[in-house]
């Protein structure tokens, strides 16, 4: 019974720490990427079971990264949770249209995120 890997693509260090701490006592293994490019590379190398994608990223935007992942055979089926900005209306729909499996608006409750993670990639 191997643990599942979650990839979190987020440029803000504090936000990454929140998710790191959140998953400490779970069996999930967390890998982190600070931007879209690194995220896509990590996804292709490490084949995570679930990807958390922040929408507001520098350089390659979160939406573009999701589209790129959907266009790549290795990551086309991986569940992706888009972390959207509450401020931008239509962000949620754009995330869905880009291929996100689900979305959660920021600021989000860490426990809400954990529930969503568990529903898309159950710990075994």
């Amino acid at each position: 019974m191997s643990s599942k890997t979650i990839l979190y693509v987020e440029d803000n260090e504090l936000n990454r720490k929140i998710v790191r701490d959140l998953l400490r006592r779970t069996s999930y293994r967390l890998i982190e990427a600070p931007d879209g490019e690194a995220g896509i590379a990590a996804a292709c190398e490490q084949h995570p079971e679930l990807i958390l994608m922040d929408i507001q990223l520098p350089k390659v935007s979160g939406l573009d990264a999701i589209r790129a992942l959907r266009g790549t055979p290795e990551t086309a089926e991986t569940p992706i949770i888009a972390l959207t900005s509450f401020a931008l209306s239509g962000d949620d729909q754009k995330a869905k249209d880009a291929g996100a499996t689900a979305y959660l608006a920021k600021p989000f409750s860490p426990f809400d995120l954990l529930t969503m993670i568990r529903s898309l990639a159950p710990e075994q």
Binding site: A87, S89, S109
Partner: protein, 286 residues
């Protein structure tokens, strides 16, 4: 001879008219050049306005992002502490930590309200129109506020007929409006019930939030949707809030092409209602 005089007169007349015409043509040319210059100035001004508007929009988005990021950390870490992620939390800490969480959430609501209002007043707010379920929307609002109702021991019910068809509008903003109205209703009601209902009225939808709360005095009803008012300044201390929520709710309702109103009796309760088209096709930018 008569004929020669007539011809002479005619020739002189034609000459005069010709000179007059030339003069008018010259004037017209000058006016045209003037007009061209004015059009060019207007185009430049228009471009400048577009750039300024885009700057304003970028500024608002950036401020919004910057304000929310530390809030995310404050609320996120605090929620995890309360949830035992870092170890057991002694009973004496639960109270203060919960107070921090509540204050943080309140602050976030205020930030969201101020940012929304700024965006609306800058004319940069847009609706995200899509099909949505009225039943699901009302349920979602009820679920998000249920714990507040339970804490205060209030009945909290919804009433949406099953046959209300699929609607079209900005579900996110409509949820925001209903959450604002229902949140206020729960806040200003000491005992009794709050009901959220939605009914079809021809091409329109009427949403209502009715409470058995403290009510609003007749002479205050007219200003209740104003930005900085809360009906009675002494109430502000007991019930809290900056009064921005109602103003924003009114603007979102109007952006949907609807209208909002309130019926109330001091000491008996209030019903806030808004009517919007069942299906909004085009939207006004606010």
């Amino acid at each position: 001879m008569e004929n020669r005089d007539e011809f002479g007169e005619l020739a002189e007349y034609v000459n005069k008219m010709s000179a007059e015409l030339n003069r008018l043509y010259a004037e017209l040319r000058v006016l045209n050049e003037d007009l061209q210059q004015k059009v060019q100035e207007l185009e430049e001004k228009s471009q400048q306005l577009e750039i300024a508007s885009r700057h304003k929009s970028d500024f608002l988005a950036s401020v919004s992002h910057e304000l929310r990021t530390p809030m995310n950390a404050i609320l996120g870490f605090n929620e995890m502490i309360l949830g035992g992620i870092y170890g057991d939390v002694g009973p004496e800490l639960k109270g203060p930590l919960t107070d921090i969480q509540d204050s943080g959430k309140h602050l976030l609501r205020l930030i969201n309200n101020v940012l929304d209002l700024s965006k609306i007043e800058a004319g940069l707010m847009e609706l995200a129109l899509a099909d949505y379920s009225v039943q699901e929307t009302v349920e979602r609002v009820k679920n998000s506020l249920r714990s507040l109702a339970e804490e205060k021991g209030l009945d909290f019910v919804t009433a949406v007929p099953e046959d209300v068809p699929l609607a079209r509008g900005d579900a996110g903003r409509i949820t925001q409006c209903l959450t604002n109205l229902a949140g206020n209703a729960l806040k200003f009601t000491r005992q009794g019930r709050v009901e959220i209902s939605a009914n079809r009225r021809g091409d329109a939808l009427v949403y209502r939030v009715a409470d058995t709360g403290i009510g609003i005095a007749g002479d205050q009803l007219a200003t209740v949707f104003g930005e900085f008012r809360q009906a009675d300044p002494t109430i502000a201390t007991e019930f809290g809030g900056s009064g921005l929520g109602l103003s924003i709710t009114k603007k979102f309702v109007e952006m949907h092409g609807g209208r909002i109103w309130v019926e109330s009796e001091l000491g008996k309760g209030s019903t806030f209602a808004f009517e919007i088209p069942l299906r909004v096709e085009g939207a006004k930018t606010g």
